[in-house]
Amino acid sequence: MNTQTKTDTPLADGARTTMTMIQSLRSAMDVMLDRDENVVVFGEDVGYFGGVFRCTDGLQKKYGSSRVFDAPISENGIAGAAVGMGAYGLRPVAEIQFADYVYPAVDQIVSEAARLRYRSVGQFTSPLVFRMPCGGGIYGGQTHSQSPEAIFTQVCGLRTVMPSNPYDAKGLLIASIECDDPVIFLEPKRLYNGPFDGHHDRPVTPWSKHPLSAVPEGYYNVPLDSAAVVRPGKDLTVLTYGTTVWVALAAAEETGIDAEVVDLRSLWPLDLDTLVASVKKTRRCVVVHEATRTCGFGAELVSLMQEHCFHHLEAPIERVTGWDTPYPHAQEWDYFPGPERVADALKRTMAER
């Protein structure tokens, strides 16, 4: 899988290091803490301990506890304090330990961070990033597996971003920290240590075996609002993001269907031109995400493709998603939209005349 952006962003120069997604996210924060003295990093357990997923390991030691610090267990407090810091002029990068625990912060994110620039006509802004590990496939049960992106993509004023590999993770996080709009930065924790295609019965490969783990040590960014065609194809288009990018690639391989797999990277605002160009070319479309189906982000993608590609479509647009249930524990692999379910959808879509 090679990342090709529509803008054909040149890969950054300079030394590269093999990094997991955890290491690349940490590197992004390291780079930005170093470049911009207004960047601060805080959240539950992110300081001394370095984060429950090690994403902030060593940062407090390097930058001091006034730049990188632990927070009380209070998501509304974390988000509200971040809004106040942003109003002052800082660039807070706040961590919510699991996306499943963002709900107490939703008032601050939706009513405040997202609206502040608009309601004050730019007097105050929210140059904030809310990092949160998301997604399932880890036996996380109901409150360690959710994909709440549709709660945020629906909010005007927010940007919602989700990387699927170490290279993009660092570049997108740097771009998000530099962005003057508030960014919800969702990190699929199933991808923290290696790519995962849904074949849970096979051994996991680490990122070191994958070319996208070659990450520049210094500064670079991956622009927001740019999708990546991660597998060019001509039979149909798969629109997806996060862990299911890897599931879609596996399904294409296993079915022999020449699917064009598009990793959205920025969920909203999104790179509509790349999506529409792909669907107009292949004339068929399957949307894949882990989140529950009804009113999930897939519904907006289906709607947009219907609106912009209606005369080009040769088959109904399918959605392969999590079921409309809370995320279960024991039934992990019946819930998670794995390669078999995606493959079935690809075949059904190709069978339509």
């Binding site: 601060v40 006034s66 730049r67 927070a71 009380p72 209070s74 509304n76 407090g77 509200g80 304090a81 971040a82 809004v83 106040g84 810091m85 942003g86 109003a87 002052y88 002029g89 800082l90 107490p104 008032d107 601050q108 009513s111 405040e112 609206r115 502040l116 620039r117 608009y118 309601r119 004050s120 006509v121 730019g122 007097q123 105050f124 802004t125 005007c156 004023g157 940007r159 962005c179 003057d180 709009d181 609002d225 605002p269 509509l272």
Partner: protein
């Protein structure tokens, strides 16, 4: 039936005064003016316990400034405060009328609470940042915000600095240290703490003031704000304006029955004081004390200002449906303007004539500002901010989907 099987009963607090009867204000624990100690600014939070239950007051019944909190306040500062209070009250009255005349859609006055916002603002530095609710317009008056522009915001007309995006009274004045008001209650309280933390992170000298009403202290963000303020020793003044009412709900329903709201600060480890909110001198002195404390890295201060919401909650509210009509007249802490006026007259630094003359000048000034503002239209006229602008400022740059939507609107 034995005691062990007695049936449980839900307790739902009620105000003593409902329409047609008198409020029994004995629930307010009052202290005589001058009777409460003034601790050093480096007092330990735990040693403020008695201050959180008593009531700091300086002006006595005769208008004398008494006790340890009485400062040697310059006369011109008190005159400035009195004028700002008068101006705020006249402004409120005119805007209430303008709403009744359907010139603006909505208004909220701060009748009876003028001393609190103004007294504190005059005790802070101009670059300290307030995180107000919708009832601290006195901050803007004290910092001499342009009246015409404020009224244009209320009218949502073509000169509205907020371009018609905000409901009336939701002002925003960054340059005057007045944070953008949100309709969501309590949210700004923890933001004030975050701003103060930022000031500390940067080694700045500015402090923040958070504002909240008695009712909104029940919001989760109140708890978060006190926790964060204590944990990070944030340079912030946490103001609770206890005006006894949250729309129709008596402050006992917010948790004020049998305990003061100031007492809540103690449990978080925050120095906490309870103060006569209708005593301008007490407001100024306590605010100065708290500001000094914050500025010297000694930590946050929580202040419960005891006052009374003399007017309706908003222009959409009719208080005669839930409380006695003459309640304000019975409120033991009186009217902040009358009390400061009495004090200044006693000092020989003010007179009834001066008061009347000042009132007339301010009436004329506000009427003139209103006239100029109204010449730019209002929300029901053709002179509203452009609809094309409605799409701006959602993001820093206009994204493609908003460009398309703006085109669809044909603007």
């Amino acid at each position: 039936m034995s005691a062990s099987v007695e049936r449980l009963q839900l307790h739902v607090p009620e105000p003593s005064g409902r329409p047609g009867c008198q409020t029994d204000f004995s629930y307010l624990q009052l202290s005589p003016a001058g009777s409460v100690d003034k601790p050093p600014i480096d007092v330990l939070p735990v040693d403020t316990a008695s201050l959180a239950s008593q009531l700091i007051r300086i002006l006595d019944e005769e208008g004398n400034a008494v006790g340890p909190w009485a400062e040697d306040l310059p006369v011109d500062l008190m005159q400035t405060g009195l004028k700002a209070m008068l101006k705020t009250r006249i402004y409120d009255a005119r805007m209430m009328t303008a709403q009744r005349q359907k010139k603006l859609s909505f208004y909220m006055q701060c009748l009876g609470e003028e001393a609190i916002a103004i007294g504190q603002t005059l005790a802070l530095r101009p670059d300290d940042m307030h995180f107000p609710t919708y009832r601290q317009q006195g901050i803007l008056i004290a910092r001499e915000a342009p009246l015409e522009e404020m009224i244009c915001q209320l009218l949502s007309n073509e000169n509205d600095p907020l371009k018609g995006r905000q409901l009336p009274v939701m002002y925003s004045y960054r340059d005057l240290g007045f944070f953008s008001i949100s309709g969501n209650l309590g949210t700004q309280y923890i933001q004030a703490v975050g701003w103060a933390m930022a000031s500390a992170i940067k080694g700045d000298t500015r402090i923040a003031a958070g504002w909240i009403g008695d009712g909104a202290t029940a919001e989760g963000d109140f708890h978060a704000a006190l926790t964060f303020a204590h944990v990070y020793c944030a340079p912030v003044i946490l103001n609770i304006v206890n005006n006894q009412w949250a729309i129709s709900t008596f402050q006992a329903i917010a948790g004020g029955e049998g305990i003061t709201l100031a007492n809540r600060g103690l449990g978080y480890g925050i120095a906490s004081l309870r103060v006569d909110g209708n005593d301008f001198l007490a407001v100024h002195a306590v605010s100065k004390w708290a500001a000094e404390r914050a500025r010297r890295n000694l930590g946050p201060t929580l202040i419960e200002w005891v006052s009374y919401r003399a007017g309706p909650h908003s222009t959409s509210d009719d208080p005669s449906k839930y409380r006695p009509a003459n309640d304000w007249e019975q409120f033991p802490l009186g009217d902040p303007i009358e009390r400061l006026k009495q004090h200044l007259i006693k000092l020989g630094a003010w007179s009834e004539d001066q008061h009347e003359q000042t009132r007339k000048i301010l009436e004329a000034e506000i009427a003139e500002a209103q006239k100029r503002a109204e010449s730019h239209g209002n929300f029901t006229s053709d002179h509203i901010p452009s609809a094309a602008d409605m799409f701006e400022g959602v993001y820093k740059d206009l994204p493609p989907h908003l460009r398309r939507q703006r085109q669809q609107l044909g603007k």
